[in-house]
């Protein structure tokens, strides 16, 4: 694997990690309040 391809793969991993974190924050805010009211 050349340097550019491995850098792109690392870029994608960072991006997916950050996107999952953002999604988890969003869902946890709502689910936490949903469970509190249930």
């Amino acid at each position: 694997m050349n340097e550019d391809a491995s850098r792109e793969q690392a870029n994608r991993r960072i991006a997916i990690g950050l996107a999952l974190f953002a999604a988890a924050v969003f869902l946890s805010v709502i689910i936490r309040q949903w469970m509190a009211g249930a």
């Binding site: 850098r7 690392a10 870029n11 960072i14 991006a15 950050l18 996107a19 974190f21 953002a22 999604a23 924050v25 969003f26 869902l27 805010v29 709502i30 309040q33 009211g37």
Partner: protein, 537 residues
């Protein structure tokens, strides 16, 4: 020499690239170039700044004298809400994202942002959101009139304009999160070899921390407004007291986002000033390492102070004390930064071109805003001043003088690199002095109004507040119209004038100054050599 060869190489590629691809409007719609996208962000933010500014003039016209003059109270509330939402999400944030797009790849020696097509999407989400916000004025019931905080129960009860604001916030949040992912990935993974994180320009550090703040806080706002939406239309009762919900819960969630948001705006402003002050002091930045730790500390603490916006909601005394002390703690890293900027200037070879004037204006006015922030941090004082004009004065010293003055410092500092021509120094200085004088005329009297008890978000007021309001309105009109000078300066610099050298400021350091002015369309296709002597920007 090596840098010059690289620049020539970059210029050659730039020339090559212009023969292909779409032209005209399609070039801008489909562009994935970080410089094009940065330019679009900056123009978008300026247009929104004018729109939000026009709304503030409606507000100040109404407040020029007691009684109701020009607009109905409902419309006044809508102007106030849209002014805030547009200025925060449409003007200030996109302006600094524009700087980030233009300068981060140039500063770290990257060919572009990590995800160039996502970068295009991040920008093009903004115009629909802006249209949703402004068009909501024309729907039945008008725009949201809740203030930018969108507090229930009013936000649960309002008309379709509120839904449009909620969707606009969702879209703006998506744009911010995508932009942040791009910035973090670019900074972490695309620096030129040899540029360690602790050798990185400070503007990149401020954006790295800001992007993490955005990713952690924007989904919280998105969650809050989503719950608002389901309360409005799908029968839930997260915040609706009639169904067992809690309106104060919204305030907690909103401010858990809202306080980091303040630093999302302030940190990149700190970054810009950390480049401008050393450049015009002909010295390297004092205390780089402590600056980095201060940025990180401010970012971290910003998540633990949210309830200082809510002292009057009935939180327990121990809670009030905790939030008071935690808030005061932020003064320590902020003080470190102000100390370092002043020490950078100490015994420097100072000159006062327009970027430096705006940076110094930022330093003085932001420090005043920070000090009134400390006053408001004290629970006993804040309970008296809550929702008065003192708060309005405080956050305009932080937002306008802090963020806008710093943005102007960055604009004048980097404009020669963007356009290839020097701006008109006389007009730049005139712009600074008019802004500085009128800003203080507009906002300093608001401290006195607040101390005397004038409430905010009210279109009418008692006779005793008339004089200071007249002065404040006079200042705000002067401030507003003097901002049009920027257009003249920028258009003049775009049309021509004195050619800018690659490094037009003799005290400036960093990779961005090794490429020609204007910056070629494509730069650093091969990682440039990094000279540790140029570290820290």
């Amino acid at each position: 020499m090596q840098a010059a060869q690289h620049a020539a190489h970059a210029g050659h590629h730039a020339h090559d690239s212009h023969g292909h691809g779409p032209t005209g409007l399609m070039r801008w719609i489909t562009t994935t170039n970080h410089k094009d996208i940065g330019t679009m962000y900056l123009w978008f933010s300026f247009v929104m700044f004018l729109v939000g500014g026009a709304m503030s003039l409606v507000i100040r016209a109404e407040l020029m004298s007691p009684g109701l003059q020009y607009v109905a109270p409902e419309f006044y509330n809508q102007m106030l809400t849209l002014h805030a939402l547009i200025m925060v999400f449409g003007a200030i944030m996109p302006a600094f994202v524009g700087f980030a797009n233009w300068m981060i790849p140039l500063m770290i020696g990257a060919p572009d942002m990590a995800f160039a097509r996502m970068n295009n999407w991040s920008f093009w989400l903004l115009p629909p959101a802006a249209i949703l916000l402004t068009a909501s004025l024309f729907v039945p019931g008008g725009a949201a009139g809740t203030g930018w905080t969108l507090y229930p129960p009013l936000s649960v009860q309002m008309g379709i304009g509120m839904d449009m604001a909620i969707f606009a916030v969702h879209i703006l949040g998506m744009s911010s999160i995508m932009g942040s992912i791009n910035i973090i990935t670019t900074i972490l993974n695309m620096r030129t070899p040899g540029m360690d994180l602790m050798k990185m320009p400070l503007f990149c550090w401020t954006w790295l921390v800001t992007a993490f703040l955005l990713i952690a806080s924007m989904p919280i706002l998105a969650g809050a407004v989503t719950m608002l939406l389901t309360d409005r239309h799908f029968g839930t009762s997260f915040f609706n007291a009639a169904g067992g919900g809690d309106p104060v819960l919204f305030q907690h969630i909103f401010w858990f986002f809202g306080h980091p948001e303040v630093y999302i705006i302030a940190l990149p402003a700190f970054g810009v000033v950390s480049h401008v002050i050393p450049a015009f002091s002909r010295k390297r930045l004092f205390g780089y390492t402590s600056m980095v730790y201060a940025i990180a500390a401010i970012g971290l603490i910003s998540f633990f102070v949210w309830a200082h916006h809510m002292y009057v909601t009935g939180i327990p005394l121990t809670g009030q004390l905790y939030f008071m002390y935690a808030t005061m703690l932020i003064a320590i890293p902020t003080g470190v930064k102000v100390f370092n900027w002043v020490t950078t200037m100490w015994r420097g070879s100072l000159s006062f071109e327009t970027p430096m004037l705006f940076a110094l204006g930022f330093l003085v006015l932001f420090t005043i805003g920070g000090l009134t922030g400390l006053v408001l941090a004290m629970t006993a004082v804040d309970i008296q001043l809550q929702d008065t004009y003192y708060v309005v004065a405080h956050f305009h010293y932080v937002m306008v003088a802090g963020a806008l003055f710093s943005a102007y410092a960055g604009l004048y500092y980097w404009l020669p690199k963007w356009t290839g021509y020097m701006y008109h120094e006389g007009l730049g200085k005139l712009h600074f002095w008019l802004s500085m004088i009128f800003f203080n005329i507009a906002f300093f009297p608001q401290h006195f109004l607040g101390l005397a008890g004038m409430p905010r978000r009210i279109p009418d007021y008692a006779q005793q507040f008339a004089d200071f309001n007249m002065i404040s309105s006079f200042g705000s009109f002067g401030f507003g119209f003097s901002q049009l000078l920027v257009l003249v300066v920028v258009f003049k610099a775009m049309k021509g004038g004195v050619k800018a050298e690659a490094r037009p400021w003799d005290g400036a350091h960093g990779l961005e100054w090794t490429i020609p002015s204007p910056a070629p369309h494509h730069t650093f296709e091969d990682p440039p050599p990094f000279d540790p002597a140029e570290a820290h920007g």
